[in-house]
């Protein structure tokens, strides 16, 4: 395992002031130990930390997206159904399940096989199997067999693309429209949606027009790629949701090409 300078530097932004050597040692230690506590103070949540991507990106959900954690804390009530679309290894799904009341359900959608396996392990590790439903599918416009091309195949990685090819592995994935999940499989409809799918957000929303219009759906948090923002905003606004807050910065720096929006009815 090589510690790449770029990685170490960018980790430095997470904990400003600490030396690259400190990060390298911490990273090595966390991967060796295999399990680590995330940085959320409101609950004791541990996740598997057995890959470099997880240690690098997933142990500090609060530092990475403070607005997401705040959104969950402010909006989640007992009995809510949160759809975490693009759940990755489950950081935010676990936070919601841990602080939510006994009737809270979190549907955590994550198709990447290694990341999905980590997500399930983390649900088991935190004994939240009764609240979190991990689903290894992709949300899109129509039911079909799609393929997910990997940037890399380790757990916790992200930024994969749909229906490309030539990556490390083209994984076949089941694509379902968001609107069809309740009718096809008897899933409860969402009251909150968190959407973070690295560029596929418009496709997810296009397959979820009815769901977005449901009056029970109170708030939606979306990571939006600048290039396709108009399309995303169109879907959301047609459903009667309006932009309430917008986040463009992390650690005082402009987010590269993306922003996060909170939409409410």
């Amino acid at each position: 395992m090589l510690i790449r300078n770029k990685r170490v530097r960018s980790l430095g932004r997470v904990l400003p002031g600490a030396s690259p050597l400190y990060h390298a040692v911490m990273k090595w230690f966390l991967i060796r130990r295999g399990v680590a506590r995330i940085d959320y103070p409101g609950a004791d949540i541990r996740i598997r930390s057995n890959s470099e991507e997880i240690v690098h990106l997933r142990l500090r959900p609060l530092a990475k997206e403070p607005w997401t954690v705040e959104w969950i804390e402010e909006n989640l009530r007992d009995g809510d159904v949160l759809y975490d679309i693009g759940a990755n290894v489950g950081d935010y799904a676990l936070i919601a399940a841990a602080i939510g009341g006994p009737a809270t359900k979190v549907v955590a959608i994550e198709p990447g096989y290694a990341t999905y396996a980590s997500l399930c392990e983390n649900v088991q590790l935190n004994d939240l199997g009764d609240k979190v439903i991990p689903l290894p599918i992709v949300l899109g416009e129509a039911v079909r067999l799609g393929s997910l091309s990997y940037r890399d195949t380790s757990a916790g990685g992200a930024m994969h693309t749909m229906d490309g090819s030539g990556g490390a592995y083209d994984q076949p994935v089941l694509v379902f429209p968001l609107d069809e999940l309740p009718s096809r499989f008897g899933l409860p409809g969402p009251t909150l949606i968190k959407l973070d799918v690295d560029g596929a957000e418009a496709a997810v929303l296009a397959g979820g027009a009815e769901t977005l219009r449901r009056p029970e759906l109170r708030s939606v948090l979306i990571e939006i790629e600048e290039d396709r923002a108009d399309e995303v905003l169109g879907h959301v606004e047609r459903a009667g949701l309006t932009l309430r807050r917008r986040f463009d910065e992390r650690y005082g720096e402009q987010l590269p090409g993306v922003w996060y929006g909170i939409f409410e009815r």
Binding site: M1, L2, I3, A24, W28, Y113, A114, Y116, A117, C120, E121, V123, Q124, G129, I133, P134, L135, P136, I137, V143, R144, L145, T153, A168, Y169, D170, Q171, P172, L174, R184, F185, G186, L187
Partner: protein, 234 residues
């Protein structure tokens, strides 16, 4: 640099298949002797798969037999169904290692009698584990219980436009009847030529169910733990 690259360089883990080198991800260690465990399954796959055939490996686990089928008949296509999250991840890793992603389609679904959200109870966690249970009231104390998508094979084939199978291998530790009852159209289709099922010794219901579709037992392989029956059209 050494502190960091000290990760043990294991010898590649190989499946005990002599004809071709099939590498397994270290997570599949438990299944490295799959050929010795079911030599008749391997012989069946080698002999009966023809170019253009489609094998459905239902309950594929880490994919040992799917891999064998894919290398034994490079012009066949394999669809491997495995709902257990760790075994499914190991299956995908094995496809990456052997570069067989183009010939084997791995899908993380549980096939059953209905398309619904179901509970899936893991007897033990870990890649390569088996004897899990789909549905409520497992006959054991589960190590972990998960909600997942159960889907009728007929629904899946129709929704996704999957090619009909010519061969099916079903090893689902007790859900065989549920899988078959969700596969009415697939079983009816003339495309399907042969099936192999792992069944409970003494349980005649599967043979009766398949007889209704014109299939009869052509070979039986029994070891102290398992009974595998192969069916073909009469």
């Amino acid at each position: 640099m050494n502190l960091f690259s000290r990760r043990r360089r294991l010898e590649p883990l190989l499946l005990d298949y002599e004809r071709t080198r099939i590498e397994l991800h270290p997570s599949s260690r438990k299944r490295r002797r799959s050929v010795a465990k079911e030599p008749y399954t391997v012989a069946w796959l080698e002999e009966s798969l023809r170019p253009g055939d489609v094998l459905y490996d239902v309950g594929a686990n880490v994919g040992a037999y799917s891999l064998v089928a894919a290398v034994a008949q490079p012009e066949a296509h394999v669809l491997a169904f495995e709902p257990g999250f760790e075994s499914y991840a190991a299956l995908c890793q094995n496809l990456v290692l052997n570069k067989l992603g183009g010939r084997v389609t791995a899908l993380p679904v549980a096939l059953g009698a209905r398309s619904q959200l179901a509970s899936f109870e893991y007897r033990h966690l870990g890649p390569g584990q088996a004897q899990h249970h789909l549905g409520d009231n497992p006959p054991f104390e589960p190590e972990f219980e998960q909600r997942l998508i159960e889907v009728r094979l007929d629904d899946l084939v129709e929704l996704l436009g999957l090619p009909h199978p010519t061969h099916m291998k079903v090893d689902v530790d007790g859900s065989e009847l549920a899988v078959l009852s969700g596969a009415d159209r697939v079983l009816r289709s003339e495309t399907l030529r042969e099936l192999q099922l792992e069944v409970d010794p003494g349980d005649r219901r599967i043979e009766e169910a398949l007889a209704a579709y014109g299939f009869s037992a052509v070979a039986t392989n029994e070891t102290p733990q398992v009974l595998n029956i192969r069916f073909a059209r009469a």
